[in-house]
Symmetry: C2
Subunit: 155 residues, 2 copies
Amino acid sequence: MNNSELDATDWQILRLLQKDASLTNKEIAFELNRSVATVHERIKRLKEEGYVKKIVALLDRKKVNKGLIAFSHVQLHDHTAQTLSTFEKEVARFPEVMECFQMTGTFDFILRIATSDMDAYHDFYRNKLANLPNITTVQSFFVLSEAKSDTAYPI
Amino acid sequence: MNNSELDATDWQILRLLQKDASLTNKEIAFELNRSVATVHERIKRLKEEGYVKKIVALLDRKKVNKGLIAFSHVQLHDHTAQTLSTFEKEVARFPEVMECFQMTGTFDFILRIATSDMDAYHDFYRNKLANLPNITTVQSFFVLSEAKSDTAYPI
DNA sequence: ATTGAAATGTAGGAAAC
DNA sequence: GTTTCCTACATTTCAAT
């Protein structure tokens, strides 16, 4: 198989591992009617070539005391490369910030922020986020309930 | 150890597994200066008690042809339990919708939508999302770049 | 690229301290 | 909680196709 294309078996393996990476090679091989060695070889390649970035444990956020998730829309004073990249660099250093995306539209960034509760969020907001330079507005929305939460891409 | 509290070792294990769940018990044991049997027992308990929900592979979304991520804010006509839960149930069935959260604020839901490109998003929007009943407005924002993207909670 | 078989390593359980 | 021992799997390599 060449280097730049995935075949049907590769996609099936990726689909399975996205849902459950604790599957053994044997289980995957059985599922796909392939040998264990083949599955092993494929997965090794998929990791080497960067299709699989990493294998992680997903935790129950409420059990680990992250009861409050906020999405915050941030607007900056200006959009010079300097201002944008300083903001990105600084905000990424806050552990509460799980995700930071630069966006199209009327604001500049979406942040996903995980804290234990509203007090902790407030503390983060006043003492960390609002101290960053060049912020014009921050508008925050809070998760009431999760109807769906999936890390698997539809492939 | 009792059932309802995690000690420092448990938290360390969770921290490690959130970052890299392909670590072996042996590697974790070495890192924490514990025996393999202890680590094994702890992880078993952490899974049984639901702290670890699952182990998954995270893929490179651009390599698997999901070049466009949208966040969509959805507002519904009314907020009866019936309307809310019908929307949640229907929207969760679309594979493009990776996440759906009910939110505080001026709109009702945030969706995270993964598609290959703007054409595919448009198709999803016109032929799937906009066909659901009781939707008043949908406002969409598109990811330009990812400054940070982490599934690990700050614990 | 795929396979079965062989070698090595890890998981998972149990016993004694 | 640790150590040791044990068995059953799982991973990894390899020669052959």
